[in-house]
């Protein structure tokens, strides 16, 4: 057992590091993220950084060589990610395109389409989003109701998507819609890509419980009113929409991973430095007990990740252990945020005039979303029970029914 890179990994890490040092600034402290003043500025900086990475070959490490990638192994992607995270660079804009839309296009688009779309995606010139969830289709996303009707060589799309990250600045999107409600739920779906500037598309940012709307990679509602999509932009066969969607959804669950924000480190620093009736909070037994619990969780997740990386490092398929990450980290984030707010006692609800929402307040406000995004706690527990432990699926009330006959209200 050791935590060292193999010689090849060390060589790759040094290569990443060398390029990053020449092209970006190290974070001065670990909490310092990239400060963006407006969305426009952030996009400009993010696009410029993506372009730079593209030119040097760092933009889409895992892509096949024929599309400009270097077919990096999972461990190399992890090493790049670890090194890039130490630098003050923008993120959060291109992940959906490069991680989900690109691979789907490679598999299902025509050669002409790949030539047209993949390079601008990789270069950061065009941004992509993913249009799956709907107001009535969240955990049960295959229950989506947006319609596609055939009209000559086109399809006409009507309906609404929701929770679409980055739709407000995206150029293209991947989309699943229902082409036939007379078929069973999963059979009547078809997959397309769509120009987000098409007539009939309206994007409305969602105001979240954090009070934020349209900031960063924020969420949107996307309305489709008689939007025309040429049949040539269909990905996969008519009726294969679920099959195409499921691969991208699996990628999303892996991508969401760790909940970022206040963790045991911040809770520990707060407990050591903050005074509670004349002595440091850490002297309080109830605080000590919480710190022990959070440390066991944080440390357990850290070494769970190390176990996964170790397997990848040996070229083995990792076990299912990473499936616990989001449930544990999002709930821990919520508890630690709550703890930080409580530490201010009667004044815990106040927001600092100058600094704004504290990291604990931000954690507490954001954690409910993390417990839902990319699979709710409940769906993820089902996933662990069914796919990891092998328990039987729930009997389903919609089984064997045509979609139009599935009950939607009492």
């Amino acid at each position: 057992m050791d935590f060292n890179d193999t010689p090849e990994q060390a060589k790759f890490r040094a290569k990443c590091r060398e390029w990053l040092e020449a092209n970006a600034e190290l974070k001065e402290n670990k909490s310092g993220g990239h400060a963006d003043s407006t969305l426009e500025d952030h996009l400009k900086v993010a696009k410029a950084w993506q372009q730079k990475k593209y030119e040097a070959g760092w933009a889409m490490l895992h892509w096949p060589k024929e599309y400009g990638g270097i077919e990096a192994s999972p461990i190399e992607r992890i090493i790049w990610g670890q090194e890039e995270a130490k630098f003050n660079v923008p993120g959060g804009i291109f992940e959906i395109g490069l991680g989900m839309c690109g691979p789907v296009m490679m598999q299902y688009a025509t050669e002409d389409q790949k030539d047209r779309y993949l390079a601008p995606m990789a270069e950061g010139k065009e941004i992509w989003c993913q249009l799956f969830s709907e107001p009535a289709a969240g955990s049960d996303v295959a229950g989506l109701r947006s319609k596609a009707e055939r009209d000559g060589d086109d399809w006409i799309i009507n309906g609404q998507k929701v929770w679409t990250s980055g739709a407000h600045y995206s150029d293209f999107g991947i989309l699943v819609v229902r082409h036939d409600p007379n078929l069973a739920k999963h059979k009547g779906l078809t997959f397309f890509f769509v120009d987000m500037k098409s007539p009939g598309i309206t994007v409305k940012p969602i105001k979240q419980i954090t009070g934020q709307a349209g900031t960063g990679a924020g969420f949107n509602e996307v309305y489709f009113d008689d939007v025309r999509i040429p049949d040539s932009q269909r990905l996969g066969e008519i009726g294969d929409g679920w099959k195409v969607a499921i691969t991208t959804l699996m990628n999303e669950r892996l991508a969401v991973g760790d909940a970022r924000g206040s963790d045991i480190e911040e809770a520990l620093i707060l407990s050591k430095t903050k005074d509670d009736a004349g002595e440091a909070m850490i002297k309080n037994d109830s605080v000590r007990e919480k710190l022990a619990d959070w440390f066991c969780e944080a440390n357990g997740l850290k070494y769970t990740k190390f176990r996964t990386i170790s397997a990848l490092s040996k070229g083995e398929a990792p076990g299912p252990e990473a499936s616990i990450t989001k449930i544990v980290s999002a709930n821990k984030l919520q508890e630690i945020g709550n703890f930080g707010i409580d530490s201010d006692d009667m004044a815990g609800m106040l927001i600092d005039e100058n600094d704004g929402v504290s990291s604990f307040q931000g954690a507490w406000l954001g954690a409910p979303g993390l417990r839902i995004a990319g699979g709710t706690d409940e769906i993820l527990r089902n996933v662990i029970a069914e796919r990891v432990l092998g328990l039987p699926q729930d009997p389903r009330a919609d089984k064997g029914l045509a979609f139009k006959d599935i009950p939607t209200k009492a």
Binding site: M1, I384, A385, D394
Partner: protein
């Protein structure tokens, strides 16, 4: 990055699993429980024949001369099968104490006997139902002779020797005694898990030998506890996984309201939570195993983390296994109570969850910055 056991260590674990299955698995713990025995002597003999009591003993003393990681994988399988043998007392504590702190004379005399099974060791810390501390020890040593009472001593019935912490003129000593000496009285104590045996051990001017230096006994025993905590945590993870497997199997075969109970989300989510707890504990154990085997300065923190995490996992899995079994889980006939009781004994045997949480946090207090995961 290689946070994993080697192929040889995995092979050893697989052999250990097969061995315990072949020898009857849980039936051994049940037989000890039903027949009020002090342990399964036949199983213990076979373990000795496999050489496992000498895993860590250097080859010069007839042992296998292997590392702590080999002990970790055996511990997980002992935990899974709830093996009713004095392995933890003799191997995790007694043998480690001799390897670390005994002089050459003691080593040459006892280490080969621990390998051959002619000697079995145990350890004594507790003296009453309060937490033992350096200042409240009442067993004392004067002119090499020990007097006083240690309680909750595991396996003292089968053990030939014992290490114990005692009050001495220079503070605390770690000392070795021969339990066959006529001045020692060993009396069984009733306990919650009758697949294991605990004893009151009374000393009256019992001859003893010093291990290491006088006055350092408390530091030594803390180190031995940290080492043992990692190994016990592996036992707890093995037990947790076995309880989860048992709950899972039952939830697939038991029907209620016309369906397998494992198809209800109430059961699925319960089992998912058990899986989460076992996974966290296992990963913390790997960290502990690394710290133990590399003799890292992080051992006290790593040991406490593995210990707390594994204690929580085994207690959760063993109680929810009973719950998943419904009324059957409350019967003596079903094996659920074997896990429930063993999990409780393991959770207090080295000091309670609260004690180890306190150790964890006091170690965190000493660290200025934590490395980010």
């Amino acid at each position: 990055m290689n946070l994993d056991f080697s192929d040889d260590q995995k092979f050893l674990q697989d052999e250990a699993k097969k061995f315990f299955d072949k020898e009857g698995g849980l039936a051994n713990a049940r037989a000890v429980m039903d027949n009020s025995l002090e342990g399964d002597e036949k199983l213990w003999q076979k373990i000795i024949e496999l050489g496992w009591t000498g895993v860590r003993i250097p080859e010069d003393y007839d042992g296998l001369g292997l590392g702590h990681l080999e002990l970790c994988v055996i511990a997980e399988e002992l935990g899974r099968s709830l093996a009713p043998v004095p392995f933890s007392s003799s191997v995790y504590f007694f043998t480690e104490a001799l390897i670390k702190f005994a002089n050459e004379e003691i080593k040459s005399e006892l280490l080969p006997k621990l390998v051959s099974g002619d000697a079995v060791g145990t350890y004594g810390i507790a003296e009453d139902t309060h937490q033992a501390t350096e200042s409240n020890l009442s067993v004392t040593v004067t002119s090499e002779k020990i007097s006083g009472i240690k309680i909750a001593v595991p396996d003292a019935g089968i053990a030939s020797h014992m290490i114990l912490v005692v009050k001495s003129e220079s503070g605390t000593d770690l000392r070795l005694v021969d339990l066959d000496d006529t001045s020692v009285t060993v009396t069984p104590q009733k306990n919650l898990d009758t697949s294991r045996a605990f004893f009151k051990v009374e000393f009256k001017d019992t001859p003893s030998k010093l291990l290491g230096e006088t006055g350092k006994g408390w530091t030594y025993i803390q180190h031995l506890l940290d080492q043992a905590a990692v190994l016990f945590a592996f036992e707890q993870v093995g037990g947790s996984q076995a309880a989860l497997d048992m709950a899972k199997a039952y939830s697939m075969e038991r029907f209620a309201f016309g369906r397998q109970i494992g198809s209800y989300q109430a059961i699925k989510h319960k089992l998912a939570d058990m899986y989460i707890a076992v996974t966290l504990a296992k990963s913390n154990c790997y960290y502990g195993a690394w710290a133990l085997s590399s003799e890292s300065a992080e051992l006290p923190l790593a040991a406490a983390t593995a210990r707390v995490s594994a204690t929580k996992a085994f207690q959760l899995c063993s109680k929810e296994n009973i719950q998943t079994h419904g009324g059957n889980g409350f019967t003596w006939e079903y094996d659920c109570h074997l896990f429930y009781k063993r999990s409780k004994v393991l959770s207090v045997l080295l000091g309670s969850e609260a004690t180890w949480k306190e150790k964890l946090v006091s170690n965190l207090e000493k660290i200025n910055t934590l490395a980010k995961g």
